[in-house]
Amino acid sequence: MTSNLLVGAYLLPVLIGFLIVTPWGESFASSLTDRFPSLKSARGRLLSGLQLISLAGFAVSTQTLWISSKISEGGSFCSSTSTFSCDDLLGNSKLNVDPVLGLSWGLIGMATFALLLFIVLVLKQEHNHPLSERFVSMGLLTTGIGLLVIGLLVSYEIQEEKICLYCTTAHIANIAAFVGFFRLKKLQEDNSEWNK
Protein backbone atom coordinates (compact mmCIF):
# COMPACT_ATOMS: atom_id res chain seq x y z
CA MET A 1 0.00 0.00 0.00
CA THR A 2 2.86 2.37 0.93
CA SER A 3 4.50 1.61 -2.40
CA ASN A 4 1.36 2.74 -4.20
CA LEU A 5 1.33 5.98 -2.16
CA LEU A 6 4.93 6.62 -3.22
CA VAL A 7 3.65 6.91 -6.79
CA GLY A 8 2.15 10.26 -5.73
CA ALA A 9 5.68 11.67 -5.36
CA TYR A 10 6.21 11.03 -9.09
CA LEU A 11 2.70 11.76 -10.25
CA LEU A 12 2.48 15.23 -8.65
CA PRO A 13 5.31 16.87 -10.68
CA VAL A 14 4.02 15.16 -13.83
CA LEU A 15 0.55 16.62 -13.29
CA ILE A 16 1.93 20.09 -12.44
CA GLY A 17 4.10 19.94 -15.57
CA PHE A 18 1.10 18.75 -17.59
CA LEU A 19 -0.98 21.67 -16.30
CA ILE A 20 1.77 24.13 -17.24
CA VAL A 21 2.05 22.85 -20.82
CA THR A 22 -1.72 22.94 -21.43
CA PRO A 23 -3.41 26.12 -22.78
CA TRP A 24 -4.53 26.82 -19.18
CA GLY A 25 -0.92 26.88 -18.05
CA GLU A 26 -0.69 30.68 -18.34
CA SER A 27 -3.30 31.34 -15.65
CA PHE A 28 -1.86 28.59 -13.46
CA ALA A 29 1.70 29.89 -13.78
CA SER A 30 0.85 33.60 -13.45
CA SER A 31 1.17 33.49 -9.67
CA LEU A 32 4.65 31.99 -9.99
CA THR A 33 6.13 34.43 -12.52
CA ASP A 34 7.75 36.61 -9.83
CA ARG A 35 9.66 33.63 -8.50
CA PHE A 36 10.23 31.98 -11.90
CA PRO A 37 10.54 34.71 -14.58
CA SER A 38 10.88 32.12 -17.35
CA LEU A 39 7.19 31.29 -16.89
CA LYS A 40 6.22 34.71 -18.30
CA SER A 41 6.60 33.65 -21.93
CA ALA A 42 4.76 30.78 -23.65
CA ARG A 43 8.06 29.21 -24.67
CA GLY A 44 9.38 29.44 -21.11
CA ARG A 45 6.24 27.85 -19.70
CA LEU A 46 6.30 24.98 -22.20
CA LEU A 47 9.98 24.28 -21.63
CA SER A 48 9.63 24.50 -17.83
CA GLY A 49 6.61 22.19 -17.89
CA LEU A 50 8.45 19.77 -20.16
CA GLN A 51 11.51 19.86 -17.90
CA LEU A 52 9.38 18.92 -14.89
CA ILE A 53 7.62 16.14 -16.84
CA SER A 54 10.88 14.73 -18.24
CA LEU A 55 12.58 14.72 -14.83
CA ALA A 56 9.64 13.00 -13.14
CA GLY A 57 9.31 10.57 -16.08
CA PHE A 58 13.01 9.75 -15.82
CA ALA A 59 12.75 9.23 -12.06
CA VAL A 60 9.70 6.95 -12.26
CA SER A 61 11.30 4.94 -15.10
CA THR A 62 14.40 4.47 -12.93
CA GLN A 63 12.14 3.30 -10.12
CA THR A 64 10.43 0.72 -12.39
CA LEU A 65 13.83 -0.63 -13.51
CA TRP A 66 14.86 -0.86 -9.85
CA ILE A 67 11.63 -2.70 -8.97
CA SER A 68 12.16 -5.17 -11.85
CA SER A 69 15.72 -5.77 -10.62
CA LYS A 70 14.62 -6.31 -7.01
CA ILE A 71 11.89 -8.74 -8.07
CA SER A 72 14.38 -10.71 -10.19
CA GLU A 73 16.49 -11.10 -7.02
CA GLY A 74 13.51 -12.79 -5.41
CA GLY A 75 12.16 -9.81 -3.51
CA SER A 76 8.84 -8.05 -3.79
CA PHE A 77 7.96 -4.36 -3.82
CA CYS A 78 4.33 -3.74 -4.62
CA SER A 79 2.82 -7.19 -4.64
CA SER A 80 -0.88 -7.19 -3.97
CA THR A 81 -3.90 -9.38 -4.52
CA SER A 82 -5.77 -6.29 -5.73
CA THR A 83 -5.76 -4.95 -9.30
CA PHE A 84 -2.99 -2.50 -8.34
CA SER A 85 -0.07 -4.92 -8.23
CA CYS A 86 2.94 -3.72 -10.14
CA ASP A 87 5.00 -6.80 -9.14
CA ASP A 88 2.87 -8.97 -11.42
CA LEU A 89 3.80 -6.82 -14.41
CA LEU A 90 7.28 -5.52 -13.56
CA GLY A 91 8.29 -8.98 -12.32
CA ASN A 92 6.96 -10.80 -15.37
CA SER A 93 10.06 -11.66 -17.36
CA LYS A 94 8.06 -11.96 -20.58
CA LEU A 95 6.26 -8.63 -20.26
CA ASN A 96 8.87 -6.41 -18.61
CA VAL A 97 11.13 -6.33 -21.66
CA ASP A 98 10.55 -5.13 -25.21
CA PRO A 99 9.70 -7.96 -27.63
CA VAL A 100 12.42 -7.04 -30.17
CA LEU A 101 15.69 -6.43 -28.31
CA GLY A 102 14.70 -7.76 -24.88
CA LEU A 103 15.58 -4.46 -23.18
CA SER A 104 13.81 -3.61 -19.94
CA TRP A 105 10.93 -1.18 -20.41
CA GLY A 106 12.28 0.74 -17.42
CA LEU A 107 15.63 1.25 -19.15
CA ILE A 108 13.87 2.30 -22.37
CA GLY A 109 11.83 4.80 -20.32
CA MET A 110 14.99 6.18 -18.71
CA ALA A 111 16.66 6.63 -22.10
CA THR A 112 13.53 8.24 -23.59
CA PHE A 113 13.01 10.77 -20.82
CA ALA A 114 16.77 11.50 -20.74
CA LEU A 115 16.57 12.34 -24.45
CA LEU A 116 13.55 14.60 -23.86
CA LEU A 117 15.36 16.30 -20.99
CA PHE A 118 18.40 16.85 -23.19
CA ILE A 119 16.23 18.53 -25.85
CA VAL A 120 14.55 20.73 -23.25
CA LEU A 121 17.84 21.77 -21.65
CA VAL A 122 19.36 22.71 -25.03
CA LEU A 123 16.29 24.76 -26.00
CA LYS A 124 16.20 26.45 -22.60
CA GLN A 125 19.77 27.58 -23.00
CA GLU A 126 19.69 28.40 -26.73
CA HIS A 127 16.17 28.50 -28.16
CA ASN A 128 17.43 29.55 -31.58
CA HIS A 129 19.96 26.75 -31.84
CA PRO A 130 20.44 25.75 -35.53
CA LEU A 131 19.01 22.34 -34.69
CA SER A 132 16.12 23.63 -32.56
CA GLU A 133 13.46 22.72 -35.11
CA ARG A 134 14.92 19.27 -35.48
CA PHE A 135 15.11 18.87 -31.68
CA VAL A 136 11.43 19.75 -31.26
CA SER A 137 10.46 17.36 -34.09
CA MET A 138 12.58 14.68 -32.45
CA GLY A 139 10.79 15.22 -29.14
CA LEU A 140 7.40 15.05 -30.86
CA LEU A 141 8.36 11.89 -32.76
CA THR A 142 9.81 10.19 -29.66
CA THR A 143 6.71 10.86 -27.56
CA GLY A 144 4.50 9.91 -30.53
CA ILE A 145 6.21 6.50 -30.75
CA GLY A 146 5.79 6.38 -26.98
CA LEU A 147 2.01 6.52 -27.46
CA LEU A 148 2.19 3.29 -29.50
CA VAL A 149 4.32 1.67 -26.81
CA ILE A 150 1.78 2.76 -24.18
CA GLY A 151 -0.92 1.01 -26.23
CA LEU A 152 1.12 -2.23 -26.15
CA LEU A 153 1.81 -1.96 -22.42
CA VAL A 154 -1.81 -1.20 -21.58
CA SER A 155 -2.78 -4.32 -23.57
CA TYR A 156 -0.45 -6.29 -21.25
CA GLU A 157 -2.24 -4.79 -18.24
CA ILE A 158 -5.63 -5.77 -19.66
CA GLN A 159 -4.32 -9.27 -20.42
CA GLU A 160 -2.95 -9.71 -16.88
CA GLU A 161 -5.92 -7.87 -15.30
CA LYS A 162 -3.46 -5.83 -13.24
CA ILE A 163 -2.51 -2.18 -13.19
CA CYS A 164 1.03 -1.00 -12.51
CA LEU A 165 0.76 2.51 -11.07
CA TYR A 166 4.45 3.27 -11.62
CA CYS A 167 4.13 2.32 -15.28
CA THR A 168 0.92 4.35 -15.58
CA THR A 169 2.70 7.41 -14.15
CA ALA A 170 5.44 7.01 -16.80
CA HIS A 171 2.70 6.69 -19.46
CA ILE A 172 1.01 9.89 -18.25
CA ALA A 173 4.41 11.63 -18.37
CA ASN A 174 4.85 10.53 -22.00
CA ILE A 175 1.36 11.76 -22.95
CA ALA A 176 2.00 15.07 -21.16
CA ALA A 177 5.36 15.43 -22.95
CA PHE A 178 3.65 14.71 -26.28
CA VAL A 179 1.18 17.53 -25.62
CA GLY A 180 4.06 19.81 -24.59
CA PHE A 181 6.16 19.09 -27.69
CA PHE A 182 3.10 19.43 -29.93
CA ARG A 183 2.41 22.90 -28.51
CA LEU A 184 6.12 23.74 -28.69
CA LYS A 185 6.12 22.80 -32.39
CA LYS A 186 3.14 25.07 -33.02
CA LEU A 187 4.79 27.87 -31.10
CA GLN A 188 8.01 27.47 -33.07
CA GLU A 189 6.10 28.06 -36.30
CA ASP A 190 5.12 31.51 -34.98
CA ASN A 191 8.48 33.29 -35.02
CA SER A 192 7.41 36.33 -32.97
CA GLU A 193 5.93 34.21 -30.16
CA TRP A 194 8.95 31.89 -30.16
CA ASN A 195 11.38 34.81 -29.72
CA LYS A 196 9.43 36.59 -27.00
Partner: protein, 211 residues
Protein backbone atom coordinates in the same frame (compact mmCIF):
# COMPACT_ATOMS: atom_id res chain seq x y z
CA UNK B 1 34.43 36.74 -34.99
CA UNK B 2 30.75 37.10 -34.05
CA UNK B 3 29.88 33.91 -35.96
CA UNK B 4 32.51 32.02 -33.95
CA UNK B 5 30.94 33.24 -30.69
CA UNK B 6 27.46 32.10 -31.80
CA UNK B 7 28.82 28.70 -32.83
CA UNK B 8 30.54 28.40 -29.45
CA UNK B 9 27.29 29.23 -27.64
CA UNK B 10 25.40 26.63 -29.68
CA UNK B 11 28.02 24.00 -28.96
CA UNK B 12 28.07 24.96 -25.29
CA UNK B 13 24.28 24.58 -25.07
CA UNK B 14 24.46 21.04 -26.43
CA UNK B 15 27.54 20.20 -24.37
CA UNK B 16 26.07 21.49 -21.11
CA UNK B 17 22.78 19.68 -21.67
CA UNK B 18 24.59 16.48 -22.61
CA UNK B 19 26.76 16.56 -19.47
CA UNK B 20 23.73 17.15 -17.24
CA UNK B 21 21.64 14.40 -18.81
CA UNK B 22 24.50 11.89 -18.95
CA UNK B 23 25.28 12.57 -15.29
CA UNK B 24 21.64 12.06 -14.34
CA UNK B 25 21.46 8.81 -16.34
CA UNK B 26 24.71 7.60 -14.76
CA UNK B 27 23.45 8.40 -11.27
CA UNK B 28 20.21 6.49 -11.96
CA UNK B 29 22.09 3.43 -13.19
CA UNK B 30 24.55 3.60 -10.26
CA UNK B 31 21.70 3.72 -7.73
CA UNK B 32 20.23 0.57 -9.30
CA UNK B 33 23.64 -1.12 -9.49
CA UNK B 34 24.41 -0.45 -5.80
CA UNK B 35 20.99 -1.30 -4.38
CA UNK B 36 19.86 -4.22 -6.53
CA UNK B 37 21.44 -7.40 -7.78
CA UNK B 38 19.27 -8.40 -10.72
CA UNK B 39 19.13 -12.02 -11.83
CA UNK B 40 18.29 -12.58 -15.45
CA UNK B 41 15.79 -15.18 -16.59
CA UNK B 42 17.26 -17.96 -18.69
CA UNK B 43 18.36 -21.56 -18.76
CA UNK B 44 22.04 -21.17 -17.97
CA UNK B 45 23.34 -22.00 -14.52
CA UNK B 46 22.88 -19.02 -12.21
CA UNK B 47 19.87 -17.67 -14.10
CA UNK B 48 16.28 -17.74 -12.88
CA UNK B 49 14.37 -20.60 -14.49
CA UNK B 50 11.74 -19.48 -17.01
CA UNK B 51 8.13 -20.35 -16.31
CA UNK B 52 6.60 -23.69 -17.28
CA UNK B 53 3.01 -23.44 -18.46
CA UNK B 54 0.33 -25.94 -19.35
CA UNK B 55 -1.71 -28.74 -17.83
CA UNK B 56 -0.07 -31.49 -15.82
CA UNK B 57 -1.02 -35.06 -15.04
CA UNK B 58 -0.48 -36.37 -11.53
CA UNK B 59 -2.16 -39.74 -11.89
CA UNK B 60 -5.75 -38.64 -11.49
CA UNK B 61 -6.36 -35.94 -14.09
CA UNK B 62 -5.01 -32.97 -16.02
CA UNK B 63 -4.92 -29.69 -14.12
CA UNK B 64 -3.24 -26.31 -14.51
CA UNK B 65 0.45 -26.41 -13.60
CA UNK B 66 1.84 -23.73 -11.30
CA UNK B 67 5.64 -23.80 -11.55
CA UNK B 68 6.13 -20.86 -9.17
CA UNK B 69 4.50 -22.83 -6.34
CA UNK B 70 7.64 -24.99 -6.16
CA UNK B 71 9.87 -22.06 -5.22
CA UNK B 72 10.57 -19.88 -2.24
CA UNK B 73 12.41 -16.78 -3.40
CA UNK B 74 13.65 -15.99 0.12
CA UNK B 75 15.61 -19.27 0.31
CA UNK B 76 19.26 -18.79 1.24
CA UNK B 77 22.14 -20.87 -0.07
CA UNK B 78 23.04 -23.68 2.34
CA UNK B 79 19.54 -23.87 3.86
CA UNK B 80 18.69 -27.58 3.99
CA UNK B 81 14.96 -27.07 4.40
CA UNK B 82 14.12 -25.80 0.91
CA UNK B 83 12.77 -28.21 -1.69
CA UNK B 84 14.77 -28.55 -4.91
CA UNK B 85 13.39 -29.30 -8.37
CA UNK B 86 14.61 -31.53 -11.16
CA UNK B 87 12.87 -31.16 -14.49
CA UNK B 88 13.33 -33.42 -17.47
CA UNK B 89 12.38 -32.28 -20.96
CA UNK B 90 11.45 -35.48 -22.76
CA UNK B 91 9.47 -37.05 -25.56
CA UNK B 92 7.64 -40.33 -24.90
CA UNK B 93 8.82 -41.61 -28.30
CA UNK B 94 12.47 -40.67 -27.80
CA UNK B 95 14.47 -43.92 -27.40
CA UNK B 96 17.00 -42.42 -24.99
CA UNK B 97 14.16 -41.00 -22.84
CA UNK B 98 12.70 -44.51 -22.69
CA UNK B 99 16.09 -46.00 -21.75
CA UNK B 100 16.60 -43.55 -18.89
CA UNK B 101 12.98 -43.53 -17.68
CA UNK B 102 13.50 -46.32 -15.12
CA UNK B 103 16.57 -44.60 -13.74
CA UNK B 104 14.80 -41.23 -13.55
CA UNK B 105 11.98 -42.84 -11.56
CA UNK B 106 14.53 -44.36 -9.17
CA UNK B 107 16.15 -40.98 -8.66
CA UNK B 108 12.76 -39.50 -7.77
CA UNK B 109 12.34 -42.17 -5.06
CA UNK B 110 15.93 -41.83 -3.83
CA UNK B 111 15.98 -38.06 -3.34
CA UNK B 112 12.68 -37.95 -1.52
CA UNK B 113 11.92 -37.19 2.12
CA UNK B 114 10.17 -40.58 2.13
CA UNK B 115 13.56 -42.28 1.71
CA UNK B 116 15.14 -42.67 5.18
CA UNK B 117 18.57 -43.12 3.59
CA UNK B 118 18.47 -39.65 2.03
CA UNK B 119 19.52 -36.98 4.52
CA UNK B 120 18.97 -34.03 2.24
CA UNK B 121 15.95 -31.89 1.39
CA UNK B 122 13.13 -33.22 -0.77
CA UNK B 123 13.81 -33.02 -4.49
CA UNK B 124 10.68 -32.64 -6.61
CA UNK B 125 10.92 -34.45 -9.94
CA UNK B 126 8.99 -33.18 -12.95
CA UNK B 127 8.75 -34.20 -16.58
CA UNK B 128 7.78 -31.92 -19.43
CA UNK B 129 6.58 -34.14 -22.26
CA UNK B 130 6.84 -32.76 -25.76
CA UNK B 131 6.36 -34.01 -29.29
CA UNK B 132 9.54 -33.67 -31.33
CA UNK B 133 9.21 -32.78 -35.01
CA UNK B 134 10.31 -36.23 -36.10
CA UNK B 135 8.24 -38.74 -38.04
CA UNK B 136 6.77 -41.36 -35.72
CA UNK B 137 6.96 -39.10 -32.65
CA UNK B 138 3.28 -38.12 -32.71
CA UNK B 139 1.92 -38.13 -29.17
CA UNK B 140 -1.12 -37.23 -27.12
CA UNK B 141 -2.11 -37.04 -23.48
CA UNK B 142 -3.13 -40.72 -23.39
CA UNK B 143 0.38 -41.69 -24.50
CA UNK B 144 1.91 -39.48 -21.80
CA UNK B 145 -0.35 -41.08 -19.17
CA UNK B 146 0.64 -44.56 -20.40
CA UNK B 147 4.36 -43.70 -20.37
CA UNK B 148 4.10 -42.44 -16.80
CA UNK B 149 2.22 -45.55 -15.74
CA UNK B 150 4.53 -48.00 -17.59
CA UNK B 151 7.57 -46.69 -15.75
CA UNK B 152 5.77 -46.41 -12.39
CA UNK B 153 6.53 -42.70 -12.13
CA UNK B 154 4.68 -40.88 -9.38
CA UNK B 155 5.70 -37.34 -10.27
CA UNK B 156 3.83 -34.79 -12.43
CA UNK B 157 4.00 -34.89 -16.23
CA UNK B 158 3.41 -31.55 -17.94
CA UNK B 159 1.77 -31.44 -21.36
CA UNK B 160 4.19 -29.65 -23.69
CA UNK B 161 2.99 -31.29 -26.89
CA UNK B 162 2.84 -27.82 -28.52
CA UNK B 163 6.57 -27.33 -27.62
CA UNK B 164 5.88 -23.95 -25.98
CA UNK B 165 7.93 -24.70 -22.86
CA UNK B 166 10.64 -26.42 -24.84
CA UNK B 167 11.06 -23.35 -27.06
CA UNK B 168 10.93 -20.99 -24.07
CA UNK B 169 13.72 -22.98 -22.41
CA UNK B 170 15.71 -23.32 -25.66
CA UNK B 171 15.90 -27.11 -25.40
CA UNK B 172 17.92 -28.49 -28.35
CA UNK B 173 16.91 -32.14 -27.88
CA UNK B 174 15.59 -34.71 -25.43
CA UNK B 175 16.19 -35.77 -22.77
CA UNK B 176 17.44 -32.60 -21.13
CA UNK B 177 17.68 -32.15 -17.36
CA UNK B 178 17.84 -29.16 -15.03
CA UNK B 179 18.43 -29.04 -11.29
CA UNK B 180 16.83 -25.96 -9.79
CA UNK B 181 17.48 -24.46 -6.36
CA UNK B 182 14.56 -23.78 -3.99
CA UNK B 183 14.73 -20.08 -4.95
CA UNK B 184 14.17 -20.86 -8.64
CA UNK B 185 17.78 -20.38 -9.77
CA UNK B 186 19.18 -23.04 -12.09
CA UNK B 187 22.00 -24.84 -10.25
CA UNK B 188 22.89 -27.40 -12.92
CA UNK B 189 21.89 -28.26 -16.45
CA UNK B 190 22.73 -31.44 -18.35
CA UNK B 191 23.70 -29.47 -21.45
CA UNK B 192 26.46 -27.71 -19.46
CA UNK B 193 27.62 -30.97 -17.79
CA UNK B 194 27.29 -33.70 -20.38
CA UNK B 195 29.60 -36.02 -18.47
CA UNK B 196 27.66 -35.79 -15.21
CA UNK B 197 24.33 -37.46 -14.45
CA UNK B 198 21.55 -35.61 -12.65
CA UNK B 199 21.82 -37.86 -9.56
CA UNK B 200 25.52 -37.06 -9.23
CA UNK B 201 24.71 -33.37 -9.59
CA UNK B 202 22.13 -33.64 -6.78
CA UNK B 203 24.64 -35.36 -4.49
CA UNK B 204 27.25 -32.73 -5.33
CA UNK B 205 25.08 -29.61 -5.09
CA UNK B 206 22.17 -30.20 -2.73
CA UNK B 207 23.09 -29.43 0.90
CA UNK B 208 22.57 -32.22 3.43
CA UNK B 209 22.28 -32.39 7.20
CA UNK B 210 25.61 -34.13 7.70
CA UNK B 211 27.41 -32.39 4.83
Amino acid sequence: MKIDVIEDENAAAVGNALIKVMSLFFIGIMIIAFTANPVSVGTNEGQRAPDIEGKYYNGSGWTEFDFSSYFNTSWQEGDVSGQWVVIEFMDTDCPYCQQTADEYGQFANTFSVNNPDWNGPHVNFLASATELDIQGHETDRAEIEKFRSDYNHNFPYIDDIDQDNMKEWGIPGTPNYFLIQPDGIIAWSSSEHQDEKVNDAIVRLVPRESA
